[in-house]
């Protein structure tokens, strides 16, 4: 008789987690302590960022009543972004976990009902795809509650326990919607083709949103240079650009309204209304999925192995053209490894779709610069803008290196025997990943800095400073990502997103962001004191440059040095 209960499936994962914790043995204190420390840094860092930087700045606005208004609009926009990010990540995750996973094939052979397998794996996929966003949004919303409370009446105590409940219900809507879409698409298309089609549609949708986002950022920019002198008309224009249609059926609007009502103890009734909308929509989608799963899931899963197979017409792919051209100066084994990495990356849409999203953010950022007042003459603004560009580019680069460069060595995983057996040094692989990561990173950051510095007409001296700092930081970021990835490899995992989300990935993103923050901020302050305000002597400035250079060299050399030392003696078990 078929097992109809779904919870034994995620239950096994809990048992695996428990066994992993038990296996820490003597090092349990260190591992769990480090995990808690990192969690605190992520949670605390996000809270401090929103509380003091984002909301702190908004509430310093010249007109005091604008602070809460802008904060509300910012929260709405965040929920729009969260909604689409969750929709994206849930579609990718449901396909990988519920359809393509080898564990699903194994479970299908056991006396589980198809519905039980779907729900068991869906819960796993939901937790996996949503936990990071939930963890990041909680400190943001708590900070919002505290700031809004400070601006008027205190936020009621129930704001804090109800925020996670509301957010989880809100997050369940794109997750269920993504799963329903996946169920429908895979019922008439093989899963691999359905994935490409769904990703393509979502990319088109993201591109369609670009003009709207660009217009919004342009409006914000137009009032910014005046710092504290924004007039009422400009402010009205800003609010207009941020306006959301209250009659919209979008769940992110309901969530925003629910949060807005929740901070005010007098609007309890209104909160219940918006909360009710979220809850009933979530339940409606859940009910829809309960009807779809028995009819469509097995049909879609059974087609997984069909149709998606595509016979390639030629022995050669366009990427092979890189070998006799761009990669010509390199050793044959390096060329082979680079081309292999690029092909594997290109043929996995789950990977490059996320890259499209990241590049989308970059495009919006660069497009936004076009609306800057060209030729900002004030040295103060030149300094602020150039270092802001540098920091923004490198923060995006740090996200890229954590997401793509950090998992590269782990992804060799079970195929490590191929490279371990080859007549090349094991450290060759670490160097190859480092230089590949640096090349991509340097091209991306260099392009952004070139466009942005030309757009705002930076002085040549500042350009040289920005390029040289960017060069150092791209080397540092690649060293951190590849180095930590080599020191903490996870050869058993073949999902890059999952590798990037593990403890090593979290450590990489925290250290990378701290590195970018320390370098750009200290350099901006030193340049301001020396070049702009003239408060620092040339000798002191030179001394500072030497210290900064040594700091950067340490970040470049230490992680790679430790990684190479480990890989010289690595066992390919």
């Amino acid at each position: 008789m078929a097992q109809r209960k779904w919870y034994p499936i995620p239950g096994v994962k809990l048992r695996i987690l428990w066994n992993t914790l038990k296996n820490f043995k003597k090092r349990w204190f260190l591992n769990i302590g480090l995990g808690l420390f990192l969690a605190n840094i992520v949670f605390g860092g996000t809270f401090v960022f929103f509380h003091y930087v984002v909301f702190g700045t908004l509430y310093q606005f010249q007109y005091q009543e604008f602070g809460p208004l802008l904060a509300n609009r910012l929260i709405y926009l965040s929920f729009v972004a969260f909604f689409y990010m969750l929709l994206f990540s849930n579609i990718v995750s449901v396909l990988a976990t519920v359809y393509f996973s080898k564990e699903t094939s194994f479970l299908m052979a056991l006396p589980f009902s198809h519905e039980a397998i779907f729900w068991g794996k869906f819960v796993e996929s939901l937790l996996y795809s949503s936990w990071a966003l939930v963890a990041v949004s909680m400190p943001m919303l708590f900070s919002y509650g505290m700031r809004q409370g400070m601006s008027g009446d205190a936020s009621p105590w129930w704001f804090y326990p109800l925020v996670p409940v509301c957010f989880m219900i809100f997050a369940s809507i794109p997750a269920l919607l993504g799963a329903c879409l996946t169920l429908l698409f895979t019922s008439f298309l093989p899963a691999r083709r359905a994935r490409v089609l769904l990703m393509g549609l979502l990319c088109l949708f993201a591109l369609a949103m670009w003009p709207m986002a660009s217009r919004l950022v342009r409006t914000v920019r137009q009032i910014s240079p005046g710092s504290g002198d924004a007039g009422m008309e400009e402010f009205q224009a800003l609010l207009e650009s941020l306006r959301m249609n209250p009659s919209s059926l979008a769940p992110h609007l309901w969530m925003g309204r629910a949060m807005q009502a929740l901070v005010d103890p007098k609007q309890w009734g209104e909160f219940l209304f918006w909360f009710g909308l979220l809850l009933t929509t979530s339940l409606l989608l859940l009910q829809l999925m309960r009807h779809l799963v028995p009819k469509l899931y097995y049909r879609g899963w059974a087609m997984c192995g069909l149709g998606g197979r595509r016979r390639r017409n030629s022995e050669w792919s366009p990427w092979d053209m890189l070998e006799p051209s761009v990669l010509r100066p390199f050793h044959s084994s390096t060329r082979a490894l680079v081309i292999k990495d690029i092909k594997i990356f290109w043929r996995d849409p789950g990977q490059w779709v996320q890259l499209v999203v990241l590049f989308g953010l970059l495009v919006i950022y660069v497009a936004n610069l076009r609306s800057m007042p060209v030729g900002v003459d004030s040295p103060f603004w030149q300094n602020v803008l150039s270092f802001f560009n540098l920091a923004a580019s490198c923060f995006v680069a740090s996200t890229m290196t954590t997401r793509f460069a950090y998992p590269m060595l782990s992804l060799e995983g079970r195929q490590c025997w191929v490279i371990g057996l080859a007549p090349i040094r094991s450290t060759h692989l670490v160097w190859q990943k480092f230089w590949l990561s640096w090349s991509v990173c340097a091209i991306a950051v260099g392009t952004i800095i070139y466009i942005s510095s030309e757009t705002i007409q930076l002085r040549p001296g500042m350009k040289v400073l920005c390029y040289s700092t960017a060069l150092l930081m791209t080397l540092g970021l690649s060293s951190l990502a590849v180095g930590i990835g080599a020191l903490l490899p996870d050869f058993k995992q073949d999902n890059p997103a999952s590798i990037a989300n593990n403890m090593g990935g979290t450590l990489t993103v925290i250290v990378s962001m701290a590195y970018v923050g320390i370098t750009t901020l200290s350099e901006a302050v030193a340049v301001d004191q020396y070049m702009v305000k003239g408060l620092l002597g040339a000798g002191w400035f030179l001394g500072f440059c030497v210290v900064l250079l040594l700091f950067n060299l340490a970040v470049i050399v230490i992680p790679m040095g430790l990684a190479l030392r480990k890989w010289r003696r690595i066992d390919f078990v």
Binding site: R309, R310, R311, R312, N313, S314, E315, S317, S332, S333, R335, A336, L337, I339, K340, K343, I344, R347, D348, G413, R414, Q415, W417, V418, I419, G420, L421, A422, P423, I424, R425, R569, D571, F572, V573
Partner: protein, 249 residues
């Protein structure tokens, strides 16, 4: 030629292999037998240079693997028990990737890849992604990749898993060809009939130590069993203990 002296491997405190001494000359097909967890795969990974020995030396050809890993690996072809390949590469691309790692030219790879894919019966599938392949087809791709650079020493872990009878015949012929041409083949297997049929000499390992070595006839004489290899193997490994508790140093 494979030669080991005092080869020992610890995983933390667990002794996976203890004081292994082998001497396999050129032109010999050596069968390596043992129950699960006896240390066969550890031995193979040590011979290939995928693991570093805790103690002892390994010579492949005239080269010591730990001192000259690159030159030694150039002579080795390895076929693992589980054919983990890059799923998003085609068979043709995988062979090109492996060939380039061994420093072969494009023309050389083209010629050799075609020969081996044809011989192993998967030339029709060369432009398909490996993710579409069955276990047996993946195993055939691994065989092609192992023979691509014309190794002098072939190390094989469970060669027949997932192969159909036709492929089994091809593989047997490949092993015989290789030893006839003077190469050395080291095969670890649970298929005792295969070992009995093909191997010039057989070593039986249990609990990380070599318990008996010789031709099938020599094994019969030393154990005083006139039956087939299966009977010898079962008796020896039963005496050594069917269940193998881990040995700690």
């Amino acid at each position: 030629m494979i030669k080991t002296a005092g080869l020992t491997k610890y995983y933390d405190q667990l002794v996976a292999l203890s004081d292994l001494n082998l001497d396999i000359p050129w032109g010999q097909l050596y069968g390596f037998l043992g129950p699960n967890g006896a240390g066969k795969t550890t031995t193979i990974k040590l011979l290939c240079g995928l693991l570093r020995p805790t103690r002892g030396t390994i010579l492949v050809g005239d080269l010591e693997v730990s001192k000259h890993p690159i030159e030694a690996k150039q002579q080795i072809g390895y076929i693992p028990d589980s054919p983990y390949l890059y799923e998003k590469l085609t068979a043709w691309e995988f062979l090109h990737f492996v060939g380039k790692l061994y420093g072969m030219s494009k023309a050389q790879i083209n010629t050799e890849a075609k020969i081996w894919l044809e011989r192993l019966g998967i030339i029709e599938w060369k432009n398909r992604l490996v993710e579409d392949f069955s276990h047996g087809m993946r195993q055939r791709v691994v065989f092609a990749s192992a023979f691509l650079h014309a190794p002098r020493v072939l190390i094989v872990d469970e060669p027949m898993v997932g192969l159909d009878p036709q492929s089994v015949r091809i593989v047997k012929d490949l092993f015989r060809d290789m030893t006839r041409k003077g190469g050395t083949v080291f095969v670890s297997t649970h298929t005792l009939s295969l070992a009995e049929e093909l191997c010039d000499r057989i070593g039986i390992i249990s609990n990380g130590a070599l318990v008996l070595e010789g031709t099938v006839e020599e094994l019969r004489q030393r154990t005083d069993i006139q039956g087939d290899l299966e009977e010898i193997f079962l008796k020896l490994t039963k005496e050594e203990g069917a269940v193998h508790p881990p040995v700690f140093s």
